[in-house]
Subunit: 204 residues, 2 copies
């Protein structure tokens, strides 16, 4: 067992994240996670008294950062945020394998599995989704102010649709295990965003 | 216990469908389902030797019909299938409550929960999704032939995007438990389809 408490806690969290990502929250037991982490039961329960505590901590400490790191922070590098949304999505699809797409999106997986059976889990997961949408909305408002998005476009509605298309594409790719579906959604989203943008976007 | 074998079997299937829809496939046990159906264990196992048999039968005998009944057959009533897709979606949102949207879509729920952990389940669920997409594609090809869809549009890509938007909206609504998100996706889909249609669609 590791002697550094902070390291031990992080190690449990990361191991649990991957086990839950692959098998679902109800598809893994605390004993599965303990045996994968190789920490003692006592150490495990010291950090996470219940399985729900573990799940909530994964949402609060990992899913929020992962969502911002993957889908929001990269947009800062683009002068035109709408171009940024498309280019970032394109990069993420290119970096994914058919197998990794078959696992879905960690946030979407937990939302679908837990929202209707655990209200506290639903609230925490919804806060991540709402953060993602509202950050995209901020970028779209900036795009509108800077003349990249038509004045007639509703940034909140577009942000909701963009995030729905991302999560929908992850959900469908989980079924197809094939990037083709994801590319198809990317091209349709490109067409859609082009109609509300003020200039044609580069497809690169 | 009911004496009519076909009725007993249907009763088990329908009860199991709702239990699984509400709680997830891994969230209900065979004993939960048996106690809700009020059939004997012997009768249950006679029809469904394993929980997977029950799950597969729900997909093959219920989800295929439900998907066609809700999302494909209604399109036959519209001369312009693209208008049909929008009007049917509008009706379905109007008929839904925030609570019912909180349960998600039965097909999407099972895809997200089971695809990465059970390959046989994934194949069966993917067949339903593929049927839905290919039926929408047929309608879009007809729309294109009849001059309702621009020649530049790719019917397969549009069909994939339409179904992704539907399932994405169900997935997001499960988190928000609020029709507003679903309406937002509807309006964005309306904008998108308008750009590839040859005439403005009615929003009714």
């Amino acid at each position: 067992m590791m002697r550094d408490p902070e390291k031990t806690r992080k190690h449990i969290l990361e191991t649990a994240f991957w086990e839950i990502f692959r098998n679902g929250f109800n598809g893994v037991s605390i004993n599965d996670i303990i045996s994968k982490t190789r920490v003692t039961k006592g150490a495990f329960y010291h950090y996470f008294p219940t399985k729900n505590d573990l799940g909530y901590t994964i949402v609060d400490e990992m899913l929020i950062d992962m969502t911002l790191d993957r889908w929001v922070k990269p947009l800062a590098a683009y002068r035109n945020p709408v171009q940024g949304i498309l280019s970032n999505l394109r990069k993420k699809i290119e970096e994914s394998s058919n197998d990794s797409l078959g696992l879905g999106c960690p946030l979407n997986n937990l939302i679908q599995e837990m929202s209707s059976i655990n209200p506290a889990f639903r609230e925490k997961l919804n806060a991540v989704l709402e953060l993602w949408i509202s950050e995209i909305e901020k970028y779209l408002k900036k795009a509108q102010k800077d003349g990249y998005l038509k004045k007639s476009a509703n940034p909140r509605q577009v942000a909701e649709f963009v995030v729905t298309a991302h999560e929908g594409a992850f959900g469908m790719s989980k079924s197809y295990r094939d990037k083709k579906l994801f590319w198809s959604v990317y091209h349709a989203l490109w067409d859609y965003l082009n109609t509300i943008g003020t200039k044609p976007y580069s497809s690169n």
